[in-house]
Structures are given as structure tokens and as C-alpha cells.
Amino acid sequence: MADGTIGLWTVPLAVFGGAVRVSTPFLFVSLGECITERSGRINLGLEGTLIMGAMSAYGISYLSGSPWLGVLAAGITGALLGALHAGICSLPRVNDIAVGIALMLFGTGLAFYLGKPLIEPTAARLPAIDFGWWSDVPQVRAALRINVLFLIGVAIAPILFWAFRTTRWGLLIRTAGESSDAARAMGYSVLWIRLRATMAGGFLAGIGGSFLSLFYPGSWNEGLSSGQGITAVALVIFARWNPMLCLWASLAFGGAAALGPALQSVGVTSGYHLFNAAPYILTLAIMIITCSPKRTLTGAPAELSITR
């Protein structure tokens, strides 16, 4: 103990620290997608949004020296991509799932294109709050270095939960998602509501991307995101479109994703790639358990094309 080694405890500790770190992008993307899907549209393009967010955050942080400006830029980029998605989907006979796939490829390509000069330089990173000051063990301190964005995400979840239930905007979004006819009868433009919901979703997903490039792993490269965006979209489905459940599910996912690196840090290297695939396997497993061909999912917005 005295020399800082805590033996096998390293693994659960690293999984905990990893859960907090790795879950943040999952959390932001799933909360964003939650808003979009509650309005009756699915945006599979958030994978591309995540990567674009990561790239623009890194670029702006590098150019301006302020990581928070980078976070803002990532959010705005995400909102613009969301507007593009909503704009194309508002055309007649256009399938929102297909547009999402297109924007996934487009966002990824654009981020790689624009991000080419950003692979070399080092940008200012986001600060972390040291909750582990009381401990002498470096692993504990490392696990408890928690980023502000994570705390913001944790705060957004209950706020969204509350907003969906009680605020006027929350009710409007849910109305558009449950019955576009009802929203139209009340004199609201469904397309307009969905545009804003998709932009808000893109904004949050972009911020999730900024976390990837500005905190963990904390650099920009083309392998930065491999499916976190799409996993987060799947996560919304089994979180039953409930922001609070999105929070718990993101934490579980972060833990699963941290398992591979955690085991590697104690010398278990065999099966490294398989452990890295844990979040995908977990998503698939949970979808298999929770979905059913007999009934539509409880809590699913009725207008959502993916559950019909």
C-alpha cells in the first residue's frame, strides 16, 4: 500500500474512473438524442456530429487558447448539423434514418478533412476538478479527477426530466412526438418544433464530442470516435426516452468501455480488443433483452419511425 500499489483494487477503481470519464460523451449524445426522438424524429447522424464536435472544439481551442470557446464552437457545429438534418427531413418523402446515415458519413468525412492540420498541434485542454485531494494513492487521485462537463451533463439529465414533464416546451416536444396531428391542431408547426429539437440534440452531441478531444482521450485524431455516437442512440431506446435513465445507462456504458483499458493497466492484455467491444456487445445484449416483437416499447414516442 505504501508504495502506491493497491493490487487488484486497481481494476474496479479504474472502471469507476473510466465510467465517469468515458460516459460523458455517451451522456451528452444520449440526452441530445432524447430531445430529438421525443419530438418524433430519429437522428442517426449524431455519430458524425460527435466527431465534428470533437474536431471543431479542438481547432477553436487551439486557435483561441480557450477550451470553453472550443466547447461552444462544438455545440454550435452540432446545432448546425442538426439543422441540416431537420431541414432535409422536412422535405416530403425523405426518410430520417437514411438522412442520419448520410450525415454520419458526411460529418465524419468533413471532420477528417478539416481536422487534417490539427493532428500535430496541441490544444488547450479542459480543466478537471480534483476530488481526490484527500488520498495519497495516485490511482485514486486519477480516478477522481472529474471534468466539469461531466457534472454539467449530470445536471442536465434531471433538468430535462423536469422540463419534459412540466414546461411548455417539454409538452410541445412531446406532443409533436406523440401525435403530429394534435400539435398541428393546436396551431403549432411540427416541422418547426422538430427543427429546434434536432438542433438542441445536435448542440448537446457536439459538446459530447468536445469532451473527447479536449479531455479524454484529449487529442484529435481520426480514430477518436468509433461508434460512441451510434451506441448512444441505441442507449436512448433502452433508456425508454427517459433522461434520468439515460444518465444511469451512460454510466454503465462508460464502465463497460473502461474495462478493456483497466484490465490492460494491470497487465491483462489478452482479449484487449474484445473488452474494447464490450459497450457494443452490451448495447446489443440489452436491446435483445428489452425489445419485443409483440408490443411497441413503453414510453416510445408514437411518431418515431424506428419503433413502428
Binding site: L44, L84, I88, L91, P92, R93, V94, N95, I97, A98, V99, I101, A102, L103, L105, F106, G107, T108, G109, L110, F112, Y113, K116, S226, G227, I230, T231, V233, A234, I237, S270, G271, Y272, H273, L274, N276, A277, Y280, I281, T283, L284, M287, I288, C291, S292, P293, K294, I306
Partner: protein, 369 residues
């Protein structure tokens, strides 16, 4: 007077009346060519503006793209070589689309197909080349086929959305490939790039005589024609299209929708798995992470651009093969990053989907005005 006045009007009405007949017969076909064509031109224009923002001359861009894709015999061969896997991975999206399913996991089926094909070739090194090749084709088709059948079965029996599950399976497939290639299947002499052992030069499928284009292109074209006949000229394909159009009607007339889903998914995955086998047996000679070159994802775009029609996939795959073939020239001559091909593909995809709104709305194709 009134009859005389009516006559010229009628005459005017009659002379294009021959045209509406023509348009009624071919109007939809013209639409299917005209609208994606216009979307393609629009996308190229936007991409031109995009590179112009970075200080490159768009005319140079178009010239080098043409040069790199179709300008010389060499670039034609490069294009066709890339088109071969694209035809097959596009079928992986287009076949399930007949049933109304959106499968985007062709990349995963390609990787699993490649892995299965390599495994069988390494397992029977003593067999004559033809036997090895046939075994590789079978293994590739079965491996890729089962991979996508998994997504289809999850949809049929558990109601899991096939778009998301097939994409998740891509990442799982890649992890399995990396795990095996860096583990039990690793060739100890592959130091920098972990790979399996080579399948051996004798077992490679080689090139079409007189060209550098490998036989994979023929595999792809045959598969596309076979799919076309299957979908449009067999009872099975008819049943699939009925089920895709109206699943309740299909159930009422007693079609086994579940069986259709599984079989179509197997064929779709088999096509992508065959693409993986070809990449191993005609290009790489072994399995490693190089195989995840994005053919599966470009194949999705090919399928959508071809409007899920197996025959239209062939020219579209050649076109997109050309675009990716020109990437190298754009990099060398214009200094564009290699991702520019991805950007262009993304723009094309967005335009093609947005152009869906135009169908049935072009006035002169309706044969009325």
C-alpha cells in the same frame, strides 16, 4: 365556326398525346436517371465550391477527378478494381431494402467474410488451388451471410432495430478480427502490421486476362444480375417485394415473412462476405486491419444512389469506385487531404436523399402539361 375553332385546339392536344404515351411508359425510368443525375451534379458543384474555399481551382478538381477515375486505361482499371467490392457491399443494403429493412452493416459482414475465407484457406493448405478458392467463396458467403442473418433474426424474433444492430455488429466484427489477427491467427513475422499468414500465391484468384482488374469484378456483376433476377423475376423476389410494400397484406396471403427476412439477410450478408473474400484472395492475400477500408460504408451510398435496384448498382458502383480511385491523384496534384473523397461521398449522399422529394413532381414528366 365553333367546331373549326375546336379543331386546332384538338390538334395541339393530339400531337403531344403521342408523347404522354412515351412518357407514361418511360417517365419513371427517366425520373430514376434524371433525378439522381441532377443530385450528383449538384453535389459535385457544392464540392467544387467547398474546395474553392480552400483556394483550389474547382476546374482543376473536376479535371483530376476525371483523369484519376476514367482518364486513362490505368485509372479505369483502378476504378473497376474498387467497384468490385462496392457492388457486393451495395447488395448488402439493397437486398434487405426490398423488404423495407435498412441494413448498414455491410462492413462487418465483409470483415467476417474475409476472416472466414482466410481461415478456411489456412486450414487446408494441401488442397489444390481450385478447391481452396471454392472453399473460400463458400466460407466468405456463409460467414458474412450469418453475420447479417443475426441482425435479421434479432429484428424478426426480438424486434431489435436492424439499422442499429447491424452497425453495432460492424464494431463487434472489427473487434473479433483484431482479436484473432493479433492473437491466435497472427503470423509471427508480421511485426508492424499484425496479420494472418498469407493464403499463398497459388490460391489468389488473379486478374481477368489482358487487364489488372481482378476476377472479383465478374463475381460482383454476376451477383448483381442474379439479385436482379431473384428480386424481379422469381416468386421469391415477388414475395419479398410484397412483404416490403405491405407487411400485413403479406401475412394475410400467408407469406412466411420471417423466413423471407432471414433468407434475404443471408443473401445480403453473403454478398458482403464475398466482397471480403475477394479482398483477401485478389488484393491483400491475408487478413489484417487494412480490410476495414470503408467499402461497406460506401456500399450503403451506392445502394441508395441506385435506388436499391441491383442492376443500377453496377454503374453507380463504377462511378463511386472512380471517385475513390481519383482520391490519390487529388492528393498528389491538388494537395487535398485523403478525406476529401469522404466529404464528396457525404455531400452526394445528402443530395441524393434530398432529391427523393422531387419524384413525381417534375411537371413535364407527368405527361400532362
Amino acid at each position: 365556326m365553333t367546331t373549326e375553332a375546336a379543331d386546332p385546339v384538338e390538334a395541339v392536344a393530339v400531337s403531344p398525346a403521342a408523347d404522354p404515351g412515351f412518357l407514361q411508359r418511360y417517365g419513371t425510368t427517366i425520373e430514376y436517371i434524371l433525378i439522381p443525375g441532377a443530385a450528383l451534379v449538384g453535389a459535385l458543384a457544392v464540392f467544387g465550391i467547398f474546395v474553392a474555399l480552400f483556394g483550389k481551382n474547382p476546374l482543376d478538381l473536376y479535371f483530376y477527378m476525371y483523369q484519376g477515375a476514367f482518364g486513362t486505361w490505368f485509372s479505369w482499371q483502378n476504378t473497376l478494381t474498387r467497384a468490385a467490392p462496392l457492388i457486393l457491399t451495395a447488395l448488402c443494403t439493397a437486398l434487405p431494402a426490398q423488404l423495407g429493412m435498412v441494413i448498414i452493416g455491410g462492413e462487418g459482414a465483409l470483415l467476417i467474410g474475409a476472416l472466414s475465407a482466410t481461415s478456411i484457406a489456412l486450414a487446408i493448405p494441401w488442397a489444390p488451388p481450385l478447391v481452396v478458392q471454392i472453399a473460400m467463396v463458400c466460407a466468405g458467403v456463409v460467414g458474412g451471410g450469418l453475420w447479417i442473418t443475426l441482425a435479421g433474426a434479432l429484428r424478426q424474433y426480438r424486434g431489435v432495430n436492424e439499422t442499429i444492430s447491424s452497425l453495432l455488429l460492424v464494431y463487434i466484427g472489427l473487434a473479433i478480427l483484431n482479436h484473432l489477427v493479433e492473437g491466435v491467427m497472427r503470423d509471427p513475422s508480421s511485426l508492424n502490421k499484425p496479420s494472418t499468414r498469407e493464403i499463398g500465391a497459388a490460391n489468389m484468384i488473379g486478374s481477368i486476362p489482358g487487364t489488372d482488374v481482378h476476377w472479383g469484378l465478374v463475381f460482383g456483376v454476376v451477383a448483381a444480375f442474379a439479385s436482379y433476377i431473384l428480386i424481379y423475376h422469381t416468386v421469391f423476389g415477388f414475395a419479398a417485394r410484397v412483404a416490403g410494400g405491405n407487411i400485413r397484406a403479406a401475412k394475410i396471403v400467408g407469406l412466411g415473412v420471417g423466413k423471407l427476412i432471414l433468407m434475404i439477410c443471408f443473401l445480403a450478408g453473403g454478398a458482403a462476405g464475398l466482397a471480403g473474400m475477394i479482398e483477401v484472395a485478389a488484393v491483400q492475400g491475408r487478413t489484417n486491419a487494412n480490410l476495414a477500408a470503408g467499402y461497406g460504408f460506401t456500399g450503403i451510398l451506392v445502394a441508395f444512389l441506385a435506388r436499391q435496384n441491383p442492376l443500377a448498382i453496377i454503374p453507380v458502383a463504377i462511378l463511386l469506385g472512380g471517385i475513390s480511385a481519383s482520391g490519390g491523384l487529388l492528393q498528389r496534384r491538388l494537395g487535398l487531404p485523403d478525406a476529401s473523397v469522404l466529404v464528396l461521398q457525404g455531400i452526394i449522399f445528402v443530395f441524393v436523399l434530398a432529391s427523393d422529394a422531387l419524384y413525381g413532381r417534375i411537371a413535364f414528366l407527368k405527361g400532362k402539361s
